[in-house]
Amino acid sequence: MLEIIHSGLHTSIQDLGRLHYRNVGVPVAGVMDEYHAKLVNQLLGNDENSAVMEMTLQGATVEFHEATQMVICGADLSPKLNHQAIRLNVPVTVKKGDVLQFGKRLYGVRAYLAVKHGFQTENILKSRSFYDGITPKARVEKGDFIPYQTNSNPVKASANIALQRALFTDTEITVYEGPEFNYLSKTQQEKLFNTTFTIGLNNRMAYQLEEILENDCPSIITSAVLPGTIQLTPSGKLIILMKDCQTTGGYPRILQLDQKSIFKLAQKHTRDAIIFKKLSIL
C-alpha cells in the first residue's frame, strides 16, 4: 500500500483510459500526458496501460508500505526520497517506510509516479482511471491507501532517457481541421493561425484560451467530441477539450489536436502561450 500523507493539488490514479463506454456517456479519462505516462511504465518494464499516479503542479507526500521500484517522469516537481533529492526518469528502489515528497516546481505541470506492476486500485469498466461517478473518488485524499504489489527484484537499470525538453517548452500546437472548420471565414481561419493564444482556466476536462475569436457560427446538433477537440463558443471562446471531457457536445468543432500536442498541452500552465500550426493529412 501507498499511504497518502499529503495529497498535493490534484493527484489521481490514471491508466490509458476507458475507451469503450463512450456510447453510454462515459468520458475516456486516463493520463493527460500519455508520452510521459508510457515512459514511466516503460522504465519499470510495466505494461503501458499500468495505472500510474498523476500529480498536478504540486506533488503529493506518500509513504511506501511495501518494498518496490518506482520512477518519476514528466514535470520536475523536485522529488525527494527520505529528504534526499532523486532524479527523474531513473528507477529507484524503495523500502518499506520510505517517504516520497516533492518541492518546488521547476518545469512542466504534470508528474507521473509509477511503481513496479502499477497501482492496483479497482478496475471499473475496464480501467483504473479515476473519474467522478465512475470510480469512488476523482482524486486521492490524505489518508488514502493505494494498493500495489510488493516487489523486491531490482529493475534492470535501463539506458538513460534523453529528456525531450521541447515537450515542455515548445509553444507550437499542431492541429488538424475539425469537422466544422469550414464554418469559419477565411479571415477567421487566418486569425486562428496568426494569433498567439494564452492559456486561461484549465483542468482535466478542458483548457480555455483567453483570446476571443468573434464569430456567428451556428451550433450543431449534439455530436461526438474527443480529447483534443477545439470547440468555438458563440461568445468566441476557444475550448480545448482534454481527457475528462464529455463524450458529446453542441459547439462547432473547429480544430483537432494531434496526439503529441495533447501531451504538450497537458504540461502547459495558466498564462502560457501557444500557437496553432495546421497539419495536413494524406
Binding site: 475507451l19 469503450h20 463506454y21 463512450r22 456510447n23 453510454v24 456517456g25 462515459v26 468520458p27 471499473i124 469498466l125 461517478g133 465512475i134 488538424y176 481541421e177 475539425g178 469537422p179 450543431i220 446538433i221 449534439t222 455530436s223 461526438a224 474527443l226 483534443g228 464529455q246 463524450t247 458529446t248 468543432r253 483537432q256 489536436l257 494531434d258 497539419l279 493529412i281 494524406l282
Partner: protein, 483 residues
C-alpha cells in the same frame, strides 16, 4: 466484371480490407507463411464475404517466403504439399465451407510452369483432389498442358500487378520492372487481357495469354488501393448512385465522422442506428470504437492499419453489401417512475407561472408521451430524449445550480431528461426518479440504449421511498416492454 484473386494469410494483416473486393483468395497454409491462427481468421473473412477459398501450397521455406527454388526429393515435395492442403482442409471444415481451388505459390508456381518434371510431381501430389478442387494455372505452361491431359479443371490465371516476358514467364522480382503499381497501367494491362486475350510483354509485343482470373499480390505495397480501384473500374454497373447521406468527414487523423441531415427525427435516428448496426456486424479489427449521437456516428480507427480514404471506400462497399438486410436490435420501452412532489419539483412553481399551466397539467403533459432515446451523452447514463410536448418548453435557469440532485427530472429548452448523478445543471427541475440510471457494477451500466423508449409514470412520495429502498437493496427491476 472481372474475377480477382489475391494471395492472403501471409502475415500482411490487410485481409479485412481486401476481402470485400475479392472473388477468390489463395490462403497460405504453412509452407511459405501462415499458421492455424491466420488460416482461421482468413477463412472466416472469406466466408463472411463469400470469397472462393484456395489452398496456396509452397516450397517449405518460411525464411525465403517460398520465393526461391528448392531441389527436394519427389516424395518430400509431395508430402509437404499434401500436408499444407490438409492443414487448410481442417480449418475450412470447422467453418463449414469448402476449398474451391489449389494454386501453387511463388517459386513453386514458376517451377511447375516451366518444368514438366516438377509439374508432374505437383499434379501427383494433388491428384486425390482432382474431382473436388479446381487448379489455377498460367496459360501455355507445363502444368497447364499436363493438367488438362489428366482431366483437372483448370482456371487460367494472369497477374494484374506483374509484367510478363516474351515467353510468358514473369519478369523476375529482382528487376525494377517486375511489379506494376500504377493503377492506370494495371487497368490497361487487364483490359488488354480481358478484351483481346493478349498481354503486352516487357518488350512491347502483344502475345496471346488466356485469363479467367487476375491475381493481385497482397504484399504489393498498394494492394488495397489496387483492388479498390479495380473494383470501381470494372464493376461500374454494380455501383449505384451514392446516397447524399451520410456524409464522410475527417475528424483528426484517426476519426471518420458520418453525418446525416441536421435534424432530430426518428427517420434520421433509425438511419444512424442501422449504419451503426452494420459497422458492428462487420467486426472490423481496424475500427476501435463507434460513438453514436443524434445524427452522427464517429468511427475511431487504427490509423496504422488504414487511412481515411481507404476506410471511406471500404465502408461504402460494406454498406452496399448489407443494404436492406440489417435489423435493428430489439427496442424496449422503459417505465420510469417519477415523483413530482414539491419536495423534488423545485421549479414547478416557475413553470406554472411562465407556461400558464397547473402542476397537475404539467404532470399530465410530461407523463403522456412516449419519449425516444436519441443518444446517451453529457454525463454517464444521461439520455437525450425526443418528444417533449411544446407546452412544456421552457428556457434553462438564468443561473445554473451548482448541485442538481441525482435522479432529478428536468426540462431544458425543448428537451426533458434525468440527471443520472448529482452535478451542476441549468435545467428546470420538476421531479425525481428513484432509479439508478448508471450502475458501474453491471456489464451494461446503462439499461437503456439509443432507439429505446421512455415513459414516465407519476408516483407518490410513499411509492418513491419504497422503490428507492428496493433499488438500494438490489431487488428492483426496471419495468420494460418490447416495442
Amino acid at each position: 466484371m472481372i474475377h480477382i484473386n489475391c494471395d492472403v494469410g501471409e502475415g500482411i494483416d490487410n485481409e479485412e480490407i481486401l476481402m470485400p473486393y475479392l472473388n477468390a483468395c489463395n490462403i497460405a497454409c504453412g509452407g511459405h507463411a501462415g499458421d492455424v491462427e491466420t488460416m482461421h481468421e482468413v477463412v472466416a473473412l472469406a466466408k463472411k464475404y463469400q470469397v472462393e477459398i484456395g489452398a496456396h501450397p509452397s516450397y517449405p521455406d518460411l525464411e525465403n517466403f517460398g520465393r526461391v527454388s528448392m531441389e527436394l526429393p519427389e516424395t518430400e515435395l509431395i508430402n509437404t504439399i499434401q500436408e499444407q492442403i490438409a492443414n487448410l482442409e481442417v480449418v475450412v471444415k470447422l467453418h463449414d465451407v469448402n476449398i474451391n481451388h489449389i494454386k501453387p505459390h511463388g517459386a513453386l508456381y514458376n517451377d511447375v510452369a516451366k518444368s514438366e518434371e516438377k509439374a508432374k510431381a505437383f499434379l501427383k501430389a494433388i491428384s486425390e483432389y482432382k474431382d473436388r478442387y479446381k487448379l489455377f494455372v498460367p496459360y501455355n505452361s507445363a502444368i497447364e498442358k499436363l493438367a488438362i491431359k489428366q482431366n483437372f479443371e483448370v482456371v487460367y490465371e494472369a497477374f494484374a500487378d506483374r509484367n510478363y516476358n516474351d515467353d510468358l514467364t514473369l519478369v523476375s522480382r529482382t528487376k525494377s520492372s517486375a511489379i506494376l503499381t500504377k493503377i492506370d497501367a494495371i487497368i490497361s494491362h487487364i483490359s488488354t487481357l480481358q478484351n483481346e486475350q493478349k498481354v503486352q510483354t516487357i518488350s512491347g509485343e502483344k502475345t496471346t495469354l488466356k485469363s479467367d482470373t487476375f491475381c493481385v499480390h497482397s504484399d504489393t505495397k498498394n494492394a488495397v488501393e489496387i483492388v479498390q480501384q479495380l473494383y470501381t473500374h470494372f464493376n461500374t454497373e454494380r455501383v449505384t448512385v451514392q446516397p447524399k447521406f451520410p456524409t464522410f468527414t475527417r475528424y483528426g487523423n484517426n476519426g471518420l465522422l458520418l453525418t446525416w441531415e441536421a435534424e432530430m427525427t426518428q427517420k434520421v435516428l433509425y438511419s444512424v442506428l442501422e449504419y451503426q448496426e452494420k459497422i458492428t456486424n462487420f467486426r472490423l479489427k481496424l475500427i476501435l470504437d463507434v460513438i453514436q449521437s443524434n445524427n452522427s456516428l464517429l468511427i475511431i480507427y487504427n490509423f496504422n492499419k488504414i487511412d481515411f480514404i481507404t476506410l471511406q471506400h471500404l465502408l461504402e462497399r460494406l454498406f452496399l453489401l448489407l443494404s436492406d438486410t440489417i435489423q435493428l436490435p430489439k427496442q424496449y420501452c422503459w417505465d420510469i417512475p417519477v415523483c413530482y412532489d414539491a419536495q423534488f419539483g423545485i421549479d414547478l412553481d416557475e413553470i406554472t407561472q411562465k407556461n400558464k399551466l397547473s402542476t397537475k397539467e404539467i404532470i399530465q403533459l410530461h407523463t403522456a408521451p412516449t419519449y425516444q432515446v436519441f443518444s446517451i451523452g453529457f454525463l454517464p447514463g444521461f439520455l437525450y430524449l425526443g418528444g417533449l410536448d411544446k407546452r412544456l418548453h421552457i428556457d434553462r435557469k438564468s443561473t445554473p445550480r451548482l448541485k442538481v440532485k441525482k435522479g432529478a427530472v428536468g426540462i431544458g429548452g425543448m428537451q426533458t431528461g434525468i440527471y443520472p448523478k448529482t452535478s451542476p445543471g441549468g435545467w428546470q427541475i420538476i421531479g425525481n426518479s428513484p432509479l439508478n440510471f448508471f450502475d458501474v457494477s453491471k456489464e451494461k451500466p446503462c439499461f437503456a440504449k439509443a432507439g429505446d423508449f421512455i415513459k414516465f409514470t407519476a408516483i407518490s412520495l410513499e411509492e418513491y421511498h419504497e422503490i428507492a429502498n428496493a433499488v438500494t437493496n438490489g431487488t428492483y427491476t426496471v419495468k420494460s416492454t418490447v416495442c
